[in-house]
Amino acid sequence: MKKYKFISFIIAIVLQGTMLTGCYDAREIDDMAYPIALGFDKGESNELRMTLQIAVPVNIAGGEGGGGGDGEKGVTVVTVDTPSIYSGLSMLNTFLSKQINLSHLKAIVFSKEIAMEGVSKYLHAMIRNREFRPNARVIVSRCPAEEFISAVKPKLETNPAKYYELLLSAYKYTGFSTDTQLIGFYHKTESDSIQAVAVLADVSEYESSDEFSIDSSTYKQKGRSYPLEGDFKAGDLPKTGELNIEVMGLAVFNGGKMVGELDGEETTYHLMLEGKFKSMLFTMPDPMDSENFIVLNIMKSRKTKKKVEMHGDKPKLYAKVFLEGDILSIQKGTNYENEKNTPMLEEATEIFIKEGVIKYLDKSINVFGTDTNGFGKQYKSKFLTWNDWEQFDWLTKYKQSNYEIDIDVNIRRPGLITKTVPEVIGN
């Protein structure tokens, strides 16, 4: 009996060793090509132009000789005109030596043209496939996606996947983009209580600093005489350098169709209202001297409070944003750190932000007519059944909304100095 058991045990081990080590599904990591970014444009010779930025692991690791890799050489870009995503992958597989595997995809880039036509059909194809990660980020490129992806040449990062992860998480400290994970974006395109936004990106407009212009800045539309840092959309920033891409602002969606763009500052206010705002370096005119600036490091202090009430047939939106700030710079040298002036600075900041939020909400309600801030989610609790909620037709009602915004700013810390002593200029 013991002998019989021992033989059974050996057979079981041998069977496991042979059958469980893959067989049909055995695929070596080295036999796969891993795209990091996937771009979609309108095709010339076919329905869709698909661009893949594929990682070259040998260059990322630094090659045979060891040492550091090169971010730029860490990727290669291929483009194909195709009728659909998967037929494109098949076409690419015919000439790439390795089989394409999308499980390390970090960025999905839609050109503005495709986004305005609607992205739902592509999203459904992605969600259906297990290789697309739910945390890949959705980007809308103001230029062709092919151009954008080809321009991504990381300089500070050897690993292109890490580059995208860090780049698209920068909203946590810039406030000029947002977290648009594929799954969240997809859920919002199918929701009737909050609508989707995607990160706006573009290739830099300028070759050298001599060409800089602020003509495409949004500052004039806001009634300012000079642009602040948030008065730009991606591609319009007066910047140059080897890093040729820009990520700033948001593409606003109604369902799966893009309906407009937000600049950096509007994006900040969107984050504040949606409740995703974390922190940013915030510049505003000095309340005592509008020729000079005050720079604060503002951050969320509490969750944004939102409420919706119906006044007749029109919704009234209430939002209270709670922020706290540290002083980073007072150009004029005014002593805002003392007890008397701090409340003045707080009030001026509140007014400045409130004006911006109001302008942003005006645009959201009257220009786009899309509830990207999720006010609808707050009002759903007033209904007992889903049918009642659907019949209420929130997204149509949102377009007639009025609003009341309250901003609460507390200046907490003055930085490493407690007061500003004016400079002394000799005769």
Partner: protein
């Protein structure tokens, strides 16, 4: 399969919990949302309450049949004919459910892990596991359950906690979702989600007396009711309606969402492992009791010669449905709608008849004495 085999209350409860709440790893969360909208989490609680009421009657009627399983009771109720009839009802029911579940487990593994492997190759591993467990017997299956349930629970909790960032409490509104009528009237047959509870009717000889029978029944129903409701609620909080009606394996999606920093992600690999373990436990318990039913129904002396034929029949049956969509239809619209008839209605009828027969016989005996 000796009647000397005994296992404790906790082991029996854990086995029933695995058998019923395995549905969490399949499509129950989606199905509850389809039925009740954002109030889908209420359905498992409501049907749990109904199951508790039904079990209350079963346990009352079982009072006179301590240590006897439902086939023994059927013998008392109507002799051999009744025994064979009741036995066949359960055997057909178990063959149907287990073959469908075997196919679903195989198809699911094929979808999210071994998508290049032929289905027959994937399913054969489940069949091997079933055959080995059945040979080793109920004691091994029950003990293994006790070891694996905590591991599966930890994996489940990791998925739940990993999704906390995605929770949005506004997603449970409007509070009555698809409406009171849809939830509390139309979903009455959903008491079938507790169909695996019928295992309790066959473990009676392996557990203590009526007291244990009652507490195992009540506790397993209460715990699974809570688990299924909580699991559905987690899904509703993480995935907005109506998108939540799209996902084929809701908890696989939730496992894929977990993403904390650049290190803690792709935990669906853990999910797949624990998912497979639970599936094997479920199938092993189910197949063991199927064989047990055949043995008892036809009064066979040994059960081991039945293992291989039953496994081959199940393996063959599971390939009859033409595609996964049809399998999902069978599971959702047939098993989870009508399985209550076998799980609750048949036992209540058999027990009622057996009680009447027993009283009649006792009455006759008294009359004879007088």
């Amino acid at each position: 399969m000796s009647s000397n085999i005994r296992f404790g209350k906790i082991e029996a409860i854990l086995m029933l919990i695995t058998a019923i709440s395995i549905q969490l790893y399949l499509g129950i969360a989606r199905r509850m949302v389809e039925a009740g909208g954002v109030a889908g989490w209420m359905i498992p609680l409501y049907t749990c309450l109904l199951s508790l009421i039904l079990f209350f009657f079963i346990s009352k009627l079982y009072k006179n049949f301590e240590g006897k399983d439902i086939i023994d009771v059927a013998q008392i109720a109507g002799g051999s004919l009744c025994r064979v009839l009741v036995g066949l009802i359960f055997i057909v029911d178990y063959f149907f459910i287990l073959s469908i579940m075997l196919r679903i487990f195989g198809e699911d593994i094929k979808i999210f892990a071994l998508n290049k492997s032929p289905l027959s190759f994937v399913i054969i591993f489940f069949v091997i596991a079933i055959v080995v467990s059945a040979y080793l017997g109920i004691e091994t299956i029950v003990r293994l359950n006790t070891i694996i349930v905590p591991i599966v629970t930890i994996a489940f909790l990791i998925v739940v906690l990993g999704n906390v960032d995605f929770f949005d409490t506004t997603r449970v509104f409007p509070v009555f979702g698809a409406g009171l009528h849809n939830i509390f009237v139309k979903q009455l047959p959903r008491v079938s989600i507790y169909s695996a509870f019928s295992i309790l009717l066959f473990i009676v000889p392996f557990i203590g007396g009526n007291k244990d029978f009652k507490s195992i029944g009540y506790w397993s129903l209460i715990i699974t009711g809570f688990l299924l409701s909580f699991g559905t609620l987690v899904y509703i909080l993480a995935v907005p309606y109506p998108t939540s009606t799209e996902y084929f394996i809701p908890y696989l999606h939730l496992a894929r969402y977990v993403n904390h920093g650049r290190f803690f992600q792709r935990i669906e690999s853990i999910f797949i492992l624990t998912w497979t373990l639970s599936a094997i436990l479920y199938l092993s318990s189910g197949v063991f009791f199927l064989i047990y039913m055949i043995k008892k129904t036809f009064r066979l002396e040994y059960y081991r010669p039945l293992i291989l034929p039953v496994a081959i029949i199940l393996y063959t049956l599971c390939f009859i449905p033409p595609n996964l969509m049809y399998i999902v239809f069978l599971e959702g619209n047939i098993i989870r709608q009508y399985a209550w008839i076998v799980t609750f209605a048949v036992p209540i009828i058999v027990l009622l008849v057996a009680n009447i027969v027993k009283r009649k016989k006792e009455g006759e005996k008294c009359n004879e004495k007088i």
